[in-house]
């Protein structure tokens, strides 16, 4: 086992950002940490990178218990490297940035040069070897940061939202690099994302984090709202855009809900009176995902729906089409 975390807690002041009973991450895989903003993904990555320490709990790395003393952390940091969401490149050339980890590891100069050239070529940045690092675009910066991380010859590369601030072309390149370094260099990759499609496309395994805890189900379509009771005594969740969603929840007041995309149903508008929790909306995006179709329907809020391929073919859906979206009450989970 690459990482094993037990009863791990991390709090900043009164706010607990991580509370994990047990989490095991396997070796030589691509693992995605999926969750909304504030789920504790970055904090977990910094702990896994040995840049931060938990308040309580224990970590095993490579089947050895981690001792959070300065000397031990420095040794562990040689095996794990973190590529931040907005990577910091030092204010020098691209070459010297990638050379830095090799230099501090006392690799001879001639060998350093060869390694840097190879790594820049791997990330498609060989043309930029003498460029000033601070003048690169977001995607180029991310690629140089990955090359620099690889120069550490790590056992694990941790990446915090590697494609969050890059264009589609760079996103494709970065995903290719992630696959290559995992398959060819046998380096474990753990990356965070809030993009479920990317996680399912890239990762061998996905861990869902929600409010600092590992969530068992797929948390998608997460919204804040207010649970109220109408004149008939029925409970509904009033979402921020005014959408009323009937629910069986016992809770009243401010809350957060998640709507399982597998339970949402799309139908074509008819003259019949729509059933409860059915909203009219526009189909704004369609994509294929592991034998299913993911549709994004705008009903005032964008809702992600997963439809079996056969059902999609029967419905003959197309983008910009007006549809009905039904949200069964059992698909609404209230936190």
């Amino acid at each position: 086992m690459l990482y094993e975390l037990k009863n791990l807690k991390k709090a900043y002041g009164q706010r607990t950002v991580l509370d994990l009973d047990r989490l095991c991450l396997e070796e030589n895989k691509i693992l995605a940490l999926l969750g909304p903003n504030g789920a504790g993904k970055t904090t977990l990555l910094e702990i896994l990178a040995f840049l931060d320490r938990p308040n309580t709990g224990a970590i095993w790395f490579d089947s050895k218990r981690v001792n959070f003393t300065l000397g031990n952390l420095m040794t562990l940091r040689k095996e794990v490297v973190l590529v931040q969401q907005q990577p910091i490149l030092f204010s020098t050339t691209v070459f010297k940035n990638v050379e830095f980890p090799l230099k501090i590891r006392n690799i001879p100069k001639a060998k350093r040069g060869r390694i840097v050239e190879d790594l820049l070529s791997l990330v498609g940045m060989e043309m930029f070897r003498d460029a000033i690092a601070h003048k690169l675009s977001g995607g180029e910066t991310q690629r140089v940061a990955i090359a620099r991380a690889l120069a550490c010859s790590p056992k694990v590369i941790l990446m915090d939202e590697p494609t969050a601030s890059v264009d589609v072309e760079n996103q494709i390149t970065i995903e290719r690099i992630i696959r290559e370094i995992n398959r060819e260099k046998r380096i474990s990759v753990i990356f965070t994302t809030h993009n479920l499609i990317q996680a399912s496309r890239l990762a061998d395994e996905t861990v869902f984090l929600y409010e600092g805890r590992v969530a068992q189900s797929i948390y998608e379509n997460i919204f804040s709202g207010q649970i109220e009771v109408d004149e008939k005594g029925d409970k509904f969740c009033l979402l921020q855009n005014g959408l009323k969603l009937h629910t069986h929840s016992q809770k009243v007041g401010s809350t957060r809900i998640s709507i399982d995309p597998n339970t949402l149903r799309i139908s074509k508008p008819t003259d019949d009176l729509p059933e409860r929790n059915t909203f009219k909306g526009a189909l704004i995006q369609l994509s294929s995902e592991q034998g299913r179709i993911r549709a994004l329907v705008d009903v005032g809020i964008p809702l992600s729906v997963l439809i079996p391929k056969e059902e999609f073919e029967d419905l003959q859906l197309s983008v910009d089409q007006t549809v009905y979206l039904t949200c069964p009450e059992e698909g609404v989970e209230v936190f």
């Binding site: 910094e46 840049l51 940091r77 910091i88 030092f90 980890p101 501090i104 000033i132 620099r148």
Partner: protein, 231 residues
Amino acid sequence: MDFLVDSFLSALWLIWSRDAELLLVIQVSLKVGGTSTLIASGVGIPAGFFIAFRTFTGKRLLITVLNTLLALPTVVVGLFVYAFLARRGVFGSFDLLYTQKAIIIGQVILIIPIVTTFTISAISRIDDSYRKTALTLGANILQTAWVIIQEARFGIMASVILAFGRVIAEVGISMMLGGNAKGFTRTMTTAMALEYDKGEFVLSIALGLVLLMISFGVNVCLNIIQGRARV
């Protein structure tokens, strides 16, 4: 008016002919000022780094005290150091008073707050992500510190140049602790004060011109550094 023009022309001639007395005074000034800047940088840069990076009780108070010391009058430093170096003082037995070393001690005290506060300011502007990046790439504490100092190098260099500008132009410390001994502790500013007392303006003006050229050179360096920092 003729008198001023004559003095100015004579001063230019002194500089052009590389007058021995003039060169000696410039040499003493640069030696003393350079040494004190070097020592103050050796103390002030690590101190500034430490203060900027560590959290400790009294940190804000210390920064406030250092900021206050930026406005320290040179005569106050002169008087203070004199009390220690005079024959009856704690360090009287070292016979340091009226030596170049005494001037250096005074000037170091004068500019340590400058180097330290400007280093704190330069380091504080560097995002904490630089520290985390260096650490995750496997750097040890010293290598991480070096990365941060390199990122803040333009700000730190500016602090050193400012400090040098301060010592080269100060007169109080050099006069009170150096004693203005010809060929030994006579600096550009003390020589100018003496020549003025004597009513001899030619050497004063010549030294004033050299001082202005040095100040100009220092400011040019500062501008180049600040310009590079913006790139």
